[in-house]
């Protein structure tokens, strides 16, 4: 049996006035296992600590209960004390007789009786505590970033600058994400490409960064510090080292498809470069639309390519990479206008989404930056912007606020005004969300200087009459029904998680919120990481976000990763779950219960706990129908013993223990 010492603190008068410490000392003197008991004025003070050390040495104690204040205050202090005396720190228990006893009760008799029980529960727990040491495993000092938008680019650069190797996996032929499509950005109206392309170039040249474009992560195995990722790369068929970017291939390709970069407002060929500043700067064949490489089907591009950069024999490749941490920066897409029944299911060419309008505003866009509408190339004189399109609509669309569309709608109106001086922009809104540095000022300025008219009310319907888009809305401030015969309508479509990302998330066994955005470990205190250790989140993949927020989160996540990478080994609290192999029936219930994916069935069909992943919540233990699963230092036996001791008086008066179960 353990040799336990009990130390009861007076905390000056804080405990002593309400709890009879002398009586307690007497009552517990002969409790099984207690070989030493004493009380003192300030246990946490230097003399107090020395008294504990002396008692440990004198009585050869191997377990200590301190009856004092809450463990949040001094648990680690006393753990250090006993560790100094060569006792494992998990052989310490704190009985909280101040915050949860002397301070909350008046009656001394009652408080003393309760303190007695509190100390006894600590003793019962301590009796079965094991000595534990932190779980550790080695650290692979490489990082994978998935998604090459501004968030992924920023995170990759920060980590690479910190000296660690980074793999950036981007599913499209070029990095850049949505930011590269934008014209000018709020609240400063600087040109998006001007600020992003230097970063892209820097990234491409960085010695610590390895770029996988046209690639997707198929699978990740392992755990923090020790992941193995399987990356599939689609061939581009054009050798970037040979290709001179002459463009002869394009001229000969017979296939024309809508350009993704221009959001379908212009055309590209089946062999193409996504946009002039693409990184890597090279041509790609889009096999989904290409007629076929063999000369019978087509093969025109290869014939045209004088430097012979095109090689049709390239095959998809799979790479296995070892990494220690993963950053998810998969970004967003816009909610399809095709789902907006009220706005015509996307069938009107002059009803655009925000990104399409960005392309029309952009100097590199389909109109070369001229404000022309798609249907007939006329200059729109009356333009309507509709906010919250598909957002804040739990009944039919997305319940959340997309956070950035208030700002970009206003930006659109302002940029429009800069191009069409005699035009009139209207913005239909429900509320304006402009929380951000200099955002509100940006809005106020546009209203007063650019004559943007805000109309508070949601548009019920848009229909086409002659060459006008008829917009029916309501100004709820005046109660007047509004009709605008618009030349162009721009919908501030809801941001949604990027297409196909749900499959990736499933493969990585990560969790999302009800809308498909990646879940952070804690909404306030751990917004940069997933609860799955080793996974970090940035940018719009975690929730609607603008560029400043995406960059801030990316650098934040990078800092977290750098802190992780700076460790040789990773350590982890050992208060975790374990499985009694004899009892486990292999039912697998615990596996689906674990929020961290820390459990799996082994070859013998028995549940196993990955000690590095387990956070010790205990959900699996209470879910196990065979009581096979247990928590270190909080086993079912320990809990039941604590219950028994709390209810001891009752038991003595009523039933024998043995009859019970």
């Amino acid at each position: 049996m353990k040799r336990i010492g009990v130390f009861i603190c007076h905390c000056g008068v804080n405990i002593k006035d309400t709890v009879d410490v002398e009586l307690l000392t007497e009552q517990l003197e002969n409790y099984p296992g207690v070989v030493h008991i004493e009380n003192y004025m300030f246990m946490c003070s230097d003399p107090g600590q020395n008294q504990i050390k002396a008692a440990i040495e004198e009585n050869k104690l191997d377990g200590v209960v301190i009856a004092a204040c809450s463990p949040t205050l001094h648990e680690s202090t006393f753990q250090n004390v006993i560790e100094e005396m060569g006792i494992n720190k998990y052989q310490l228990e704190i009985a909280n007789i101040r915050e949860q006893c002397s301070w909350v009760h008046n009656d001394k008799e009652e408080a003393t009786r309760k303190a007695n029980l509190i100390i006894k529960t600590a003793l019962e727990k301590l009796r079965l505590n094991e000595s534990l040491s932190p779980v550790s495993s080695p650290m692979t000092k490489r990082v994978m970033v998935i998604g090459g938008g501004i968030a992924g680019i920023q995170a990759a650069l920060d980590i690479a600058d910190g000296g660690y190797e980074v793999l950036l996996v981007e599913k499209k032929p070029s990095i850049g994400g949505h930011m590269i499509q934008l014209s000018e950005t709020f609240p400063t109206l600087d040109c998006s490409q001007c600020i992003l392309t230097p970063k892209m170039v820097q990234l491409a040249k960085h010695k610590n960064i390895k770029l996988y474009v046209n690639s997707e992560v198929e699978k990740v195995e392992g755990f923090v510090g020790n992941f193995t990722a399987k990356i599939n790369r689609k061939p581009q068929y054009v050798n970037p080292d040979i290709c001179t970017m002459c463009g002869d291939c394009i001229d000969n390709c017979p296939v024309v498809v809508p350009s993704e970069y221009d959001e379908g407002l212009s055309w590209r060929k089946a062999i193409y470069v996504p946009f002039p500043q693409a990184i890597p700067a090279t041509f790609t064949i889009d096999t989904e639309n290409c007629l076929g490489f063999d000369p019978i089907a087509c093969g025109e591009c290869r014939k045209a390519c004088k430097p012979e950069a095109i090689n049709y024999d390239k095959k998809p490749e799979t790479f296995e990479e070892k990494i220690g941490a993963i950053i998810l920066a998969t970004g967003y897409d816009l909610y399809p206008v095709e789902k907006m029944a009220e706005y015509g299911y996307g069938k009107f060419p002059d009803v655009l989404n925000g990104l399409q309008f960005e392309r029309i505003l952009s100097a590199t866009g389909p109109t070369g930056g001229k404000m022309l509408r798609p249907s007939d190339g006329k200059i729109p004189k009356e333009i309507v912007f509709i906010q919250c399109s598909g957002s804040r609509d739990p009944e039919r669309h997305n319940s959340y606020c997309s956070k950035i569309c208030c700002m970009y709608s206003l930006k659109h109106a302002k940029l429009y005004k800069h191009k069409v001086h005699d035009g009139q922009p209207y913005i239909f809104y429900i509320d304006i969300r402009s929380g951000g540095k200099r955002y509100e000022e940006f809005i106020q300025q546009a209203v007063s200087e650019d004559g943007v008219i805000y109309i508070r009310g949601k548009v019920a319907k848009i229909y086409k009459e002659d060459d006008k888009m008829i917009v029916h809305g309501m100004d709820t401030l005046t109660g007047k029904k509004i009709e605008i015969k618009a030349d162009l309508v721009v919908l501030a479509q809801s941001m949604i998680p990027s297409e196909g990302v749900n499959k990736l998330i499933q493969n990585l066994k990560l969790s999302t919120d009800e809308h498909g955005f990646l879940n952070e470990a804690h909404p306030k205190l751990r917004p940069l990481e997933s609860i799955q250790s080793g996974f970090y989140l940035t940018g719009a993949a975690q929730g609607p976000k603008d560029i400043p927020d995406s960059v801030a989160q990316a650098s934040g996540a990078a800092a977290k990763v750098l802190a992780l990478m700076s460790q040789q080994e990773i350590y982890h609290e050992p208060i975790i779950a374990w499985v009694d192999e004899e009892k486990c029936s292999g039912c697998g219930i615990c596996i689906s219960t674990c929020p961290y994916g820390a459990r799996a069935l082994n070859f013998d069909g028995i549940a196993e706990v990955n000690e590095v992943l387990c956070e010790g919540c205990g959900a699996c233990i209470s879910a196990c129908p065979s009581s096979a699963s247990q928590q270190r230092n909080l086993t079912d036996d320990q809990i039941n013993n604590m219950i028994d001791i709390i209810l001891q008086d009752n038991l003595e008066n009523s039933l024998e223990k043995e009859d019970m179960i």
């Binding site: 949601k458 548009v459 709820t476 109660g479």
Partner: protein, 135 residues
């Protein structure tokens, strides 16, 4: 003049009755105005549908009961089909009519309608109008 709001005014029994008859929670409304935007007869109303919802949140039920709006509403269900919060606004309108009608109030006297030629008038028109407007 101030519109006086207080706890008691907001939580009154008429307001509860509206929610009970309509089975709609008027506090779900966030005043987007979509119901009014799409309402085909809002021009004839003295209070627009979103204002009806707002006044109902204030508990100002009598004001709505006395309005023309509830009688102008033609139960076209456009508001209900488009409300982003899934409120069946048309049921709320019906609840106000019902409270009036259950007090034996009639908006029209059957002999004082705007019908000139009764033979030409289809039963569907007579019956539906009577059901919506007479107590």
């Amino acid at each position: 003049m101030f519109y006086k709001l207080n706890n008691k005014a907001i939580k009154n029994s008429l307001s509860e009755q509206v929610q009970e008859i309509s089975a709609q929670n008027v506090f779900d409304c966030y005043q987007c105005g979509n119901c009014s935007s799409g309402c085909p007869v809002v021009d004839y109303m003295d209070i627009s549908p979103n204002q009806v919802m707002r006044l109902a949140q204030f508990g100002a039920i009598q004001e709505i009961l006395d309005s023309e709006t509830i009688w102008i509403c033609s139960t076209c269900l456009q508001c209900s089909s488009r409300c982003p919060k899934g409120i069946d606004v048309s049921k709320v309108m019906e609840a106000f009519r019902a409270i009036n009608l259950r007090k034996r109030f009639s908006k029209v006297e059957p002999n004082k309608t705007q019908i000139q030629n009764i033979k030409e008038t289809p039963p569907i028109l007579l019956v539906s109008a009577m059901r919506k407007m007479t107590g």
